[in-house]
């Protein structure tokens, strides 16, 4: 469903994404991992048709990413979601369903269903300007799902959500994937990726370092520790975990052991 082939994106002299290959199939939940500035958001913006690649191909359901057909198939939750301050949450959802041409009766039922799923009944008819970050995030999730997308792309999905909302969102991701939707999720939270994802891809400096199931990565890289250690060793930021130096004196911010008596 999502097909990224040899994609490079340059910002002037800087190469943000470097010959990246990525595929997310129907019914699959793919977690896109990488340190800050690794090129995750740039890749996601190319998948959503907001940026054009300097070279390479991005296809959504076989369509060019910038085409109207691709946008009809896609639901997108950006890292900094946008809502109209002077619309109520319900009006925003009605705008989205109208934009995607949903039949009115079906659209109303779907909106009510999502209001219940995301527990938004108490505030859905208030102006979005009065919403907290978490409330906004829930409306944006609902708007991305309200037209039953075949592909869901989510950048940092759990930012600003309380544990209950986070649980709802995580369940929804799995449910979407099981119902045949291709879900691409970019996250820093390795535990979430380990818990939910069918496959993970680790990207750094714009290049895909490794991709596959967590077990495949462990076996290929001969690394049997937690995903966090695997990630850190791949991205070159490895530092000894606190537990490994416990009792051996202080460490500095880079994780290097310091002589006893060094002030922290």
């Amino acid at each position: 469903m999502i097909e990224v082939r040899g994609v490079t994106k340059r910002f002037g002299a800087r190469c943000a994404v470097d010959r990246l290959d990525l595929e997310v199939r129907s019914g699959e939940l793919f977690a896109f991992l990488g340190p800050n500035g690794a090129g995750k958001t740039t890749t996601i913006k190319m998948i959503c048709g907001l940026l054009s690649p300097s070279s390479g191909v991005v296809r959504i359901g076989g369509n060019e990413a910038t085409s109207q057909a691709a946008r009809q198939l896609l639901g997108y939750v950006p890292d900094q979601p946008y809502l109209y301050d002077k619309l109520t949450g319900r009006e925003f959802l009605r705008f989205v369903v109208e934009m995607y041409g949903l039949e009115p009766g079906r659209a109303s039922r779907r909106i009510l269903e999502l209001i219940d799923v995301f527990e938004m009944r108490d505030y859905i008819d208030e102006l979005c300007e009065s919403y907290s970050q978490g409330m906004k995030q829930r409306v944006v999730f609902a708007s991305a799902l309200v037209h039953d997308p075949k592909i869901l792309v989510v950048d940092e999905p759990l930012v600003g959500l309380d544990p209950r909302s986070a649980r709802i969102v995580k369940d929804l991701f799995v449910q979407q994937a099981r119902s045949g939707c291709a879900v691409l999720m970019s996250t820093h939270l390795l535990a979430i990726a380990e818990e939910l994802a069918d496959r993970v891809g680790i990207v750094d400096h714009g290049r895909m370092l490794a991709s596959g199931t967590v077990d495949q990565l462990r076996s290929e890289l001969k690394h049997h520790g937690p995903l966090e250690d695997l990630f850190l060793s791949l991205t070159g930021d490895h530092r000894p975990p606190m537990s490994s130096v416990e009792g051996q004196g202080p460490i500095d911010l880079a994780g290097r052991p310091q002589p006893a008596g060094t002030p922290l």
Binding site: G49, Q72, G101, L127
Partner: protein, 583 residues
């Protein structure tokens, strides 16, 4: 959603009718307008009343000015013949240029830099449909001022010339077509800039504005230097010759002025002809803009987003050290805040380029004073011009403080979690802004006013007096902008230009204008009466030297008191509000 899977495995969603997204965007606009009106009506009645009253006063003031001007021109038969067409052509040409720039800038921001633009690009709406939606809003925002300026002009003209009611109706049709031409051309320019100069948009804008201002200054200079006695036939012929370029039949402003003047004479066939010409070109210009948006919007968006400057900015530490040493009397946290604001000022060309352009043009004018012959005029005339020059400098400074200093606190509100944790009192933040504003304003204004006085050949006493007045004005205008900025902040808005044109910014500008008027009038009156007495000792209110010294001392003391109140009172109000404020 029923999907079709093609032979190549491509998933084809059902085609979306073009009208579907258009309807959704129309509904969106309706909901937004309705909810905004409801919010305004349910908000502060005082604020709404004040906005309406200010607009009404502004409209009536302009109407009175235009009415008086048309009456004056009407009694001079030599002026009536042909001069209106020149005046209207020039007026509409100036408006055309302003609308071109304002709509271009607003469209550029809406299409290529707004989060709404990014959001709409992820929906199934086509790029020309998104353009149409954003363009309508940009044209509305940029043209309301034209309506506020143009409507009293047209009503005053219609009434003084006994125009038929149809004249006022046809003006509205002309207005729509005219605004559409200027806006569409501005939008085309915005799309071209995004595609061709994605990293140089500010440079292109600055160069264009400087070019236009340069041409304006050249035209002004040529008009000033028209030979012959003012209002004589030769002089009028000279003025018309210099304005002849505005009469080119290729300018939409010419079609507008010719058509409206024909309508005022009830020459409907001629007026209708020009309306058709104007409307046809408006349609063509919009079509061209929409076609360019369809083909180039996405490409331009990608280029603008993909070419954001990532230039490393280092150095300048010698300046920091010098600043700390020079202003050691200020508390260190205040100095650090000022340095932060100075750095932001230096890195934002929108701020210093406007500062540079306006003050540069003033300096150009002041340097040309000897060529304009003011320096050889009578003392009372030179005194009058010196006060007028001082007023213009202060007025430009007030637009600067309203546009850039007033929004500082509103913008700081978003970063208050940083400032709030610093070991300094909240009032110190305001004092820091105040000192920053005074420091930025004082140097260029003092230099400009001294230059003006030197070119006019004013005496040392007047130069010293003007220098002191400029200091008082800088402190007062800074105090007003910082104080009101803290009292009436807009913490939701991140765009300083939108903060400046809001209620608080408008009130700030009005208070600043009243302050300038009070300070300048207090000192200009005794000076004028004194110099008048030198030329015409028999004049009724002329002051003798002794009386002048007495009244000047009184006036100086009064202006100092006004300056002190104008500086301290808004700051106190601002500090109190800022200390109570929750972020």
């Amino acid at each position: 959603m029923s999907l079709v899977i093609g032979e190549s495995g491509r998933i084809e969603p059902p085609p979306l009718p073009a009208e579907q997204t258009a309807r959704a965007l129309r509904h969106l606009r309706w909901w937004l307008m309705r909810n905004t009106v409801r919010s305004v009506l349910s908000g502060s009645r005082l604020r709404l009343t004040m906005i309406l009253c200010c607009s009404a006063v502004f409209w009536l003031g302009l109407f009175g000015l235009f009415w008086g001007s048309f009456e004056f021109i009407g009694i001079n038969d030599a002026l009536v013949n042909g001069i209106f067409e020149y005046l209207f052509s020039m007026f509409f040409l100036s408006i055309l240029v302003m609308l071109f720039f304002s709509t271009g800038i607003l469209t550029y921001t809406a299409l290529f830099h707004s989060r709404e633009g990014a959001f709409l690009l992820t929906t199934p709406a086509t790029t020309d449909r998104i353009f149409a939606y954003q363009f309508t809003e940009s044209v509305g925002l940029s043209s309301w001022a034209f309506f506020l300026l143009g409507s009293p002009l047209m009503v005053a003209y219609g009434l003084t010339n006994g125009a038929a009611p149809g004249f006022y109706l046809i003006f509205l049709a002309y207005l729509v077509a005219f605004v559409l031409i200027a806006g569409s051309l501005g939008a085309i320019a915005a799309i071209v800039v995004a595609n061709v100069f994605p990293r140089r948009q500010k440079l292109v804008l600055s160069a264009s504005v400087a070019g236009i201002l340069g041409l304006g200054a050249l035209l002004g200079w040529r008009l000033w230097s028209t030979p012959g006695d003012a209002l004589s036939t030769d002089w009028l012929a000279g003025v018309q010759d210099r304005l002849a370029f505005a009469q080119s039949p290729l300018w939409p402003s010419r079609w507008m002025s010719a058509g409206l003047l024909a309508a005022s004479r009830s020459d409907w066939s001629r007026s209708g002809y020009y309306l058709v010409v104007l409307s046809a070109h408006a349609g063509l210009a919009y079509l061209a803009a929409a076609a360019m948006a369809r083909d180039l919007y996405f490409r331009g968006y990608s280029r603008v987003q993909g070419n954001r400057s990532a230039r490393r900015r280092q150095g300048g530490y010698w300046f920091d050290a010098l600043f700390h040493r020079t202003f050691f009397v200020l508390p260190r946290p205040v100095r650090l805040l000022i340095l932060k604001d100075l750095r932001s000022f230096r890195r934002d060309p929108a701020q210093w380029s406007q500062f540079l352009i306006f003050f540069g043009l003033l300096a150009f004018y002041f340097l040309n004073i000897p060529r304009l012959g003011y320096a050889v005029q009578s003392p009372s005339w030179r005194n009058l011009v010196s006060f007028l020059n001082l007023s213009v400098t202060a007025l430009i400074l007030s637009t600067f403080t309203s546009r850039f200093i007033f929004p500082l606190l509103s913008l700081e509100g978003r970063n208050f979690w940083v400032l709030g944790l610093f070991p300094l009192r909240r009032e110190q933040i305001l004092w820091g802004k105040f000192v920053f504003s005074v420091g930025i304003a004082l140097l260029p204004t003092e230099l400009l006013v001294s230059l003006s006085d030197a070119m006019l050949g004013m005496g040392p006493l007047m130069i010293a007096l003007h220098a002191a007045m400029v200091a008082v004005l800088c402190a007062g205008l800074s105090g007003i902008s910082v104080g009101l900025g803290a009292r009436l902040p807009n913490l939701r808005e991140s765009d300083p230009s939108k903060i400046a044109v809001g209620f608080g910014g408008t009130l700030n500008l009005l208070v600043s204008l009243v302050f300038i008027f009070a300070i300048v009038t207090a000192l200009a009156v005794p000076c004028h009466l004194y110099y008048l007495g030198i030329e015409h000792p028999e004049a009724q209110y002329a002051l003798t030297h002794g009386a002048f010294r007495f009244w000047l001392t009184i006036a100086f003391a009064v202006s100092l008191v006004i300056g002190l109140v104008g500086t301290v009172l808004p700051l106190r109000i601002g500090i109190k509000a800022f200390q109570r404020m929750e972020f």
